[in-house]
Amino acid sequence: MGFVSVKYFGMIAEKTGKEIEQISFEEVGNHLTDLKTYCEKSYPGMGDIKYQIAINKCLGSKEVLQEGDEVAFLPPFAGG
């Protein structure tokens, strides 16, 4: 079993109170859907925010996670 690094940004980091954490497959399994459910349950209010997920810096790249993946929760973009 392994871990993924999970990163939070902007208004999501505000809900989680942290910008990065390690989450183990033991805790949540290796499916992205389960990770999302886990996070939304852990951090009240996070489920109300429209977000996109990037895995290893690519948007919507895969469903099954691997050891060492970097999973980022990205709220709406506001550049420019």
Partner: protein, 147 residues
């Protein structure tokens, strides 16, 4: 598609008019250029429920964002006949009236400069993970969302 020209897009704090002037001056030796288009994003003092935005604090998923800026720029060179294209974006605090985005395209002819600049700005707004916290003058805040 080489990495040799890759340089950082993010700058700390606002973008100064002097930086823009220097960038323009640096292009005067490229005498095949006939047209430049420059887009500047400026922080607006928007009013929300009687409170006024005094500044935006920008953060980003930096590694992913630099990758996205690079890809956007490469794709602009594929789509348009460009001599040069530059993008600079602020991180950290930018006050109302200050500049947070500087997109600069140069081409032999105006159509490519115009079209590429517009393309780059739309791509930056929609595809780059940059986040903006609008700070009101009473120090409360709200999160900016691009339309």
């Amino acid at each position: 598609m080489s990495d040799k020209k890759r340089k950082k897009t993010f700058v700390q704090g606002p973008i100064s008019p002097e930086k823009i002037a220097n960038s323009i001056a640096n292009h005067q030796s490229k005498t095949n250029i006939g047209a430049h288009d420059i887009f500047l994003g400026q922080v607006r003092a928007d009013q929300v429920d009687g409170k006024i935005v005094g500044a935006i604090e920008y953060t980003a998923y930096e590694e992913m964002a630099e990758e996205a800026f690079h890809e956007i720029r490469e794709s602009a060179f594929e789509k348009f006949n460009l001599t040069c294209a530059h993008i600079y974006h602020s991180l950290g605090t930018v006050k109302a009236g200050e500049l947070c985005l500087f997109v600069f395209t140069s081409s032999p002819h105006r159509n490519d400069a115009f079209e590429a600049c517009r393309y780059l700005v739309e791509e930056v707004k929609s595809k780059v993970p940059v986040f903006g916290k609008e700070i009101f003058e009473d120090e409360t805040h709200q999160w900016k969302v691009n339309k």
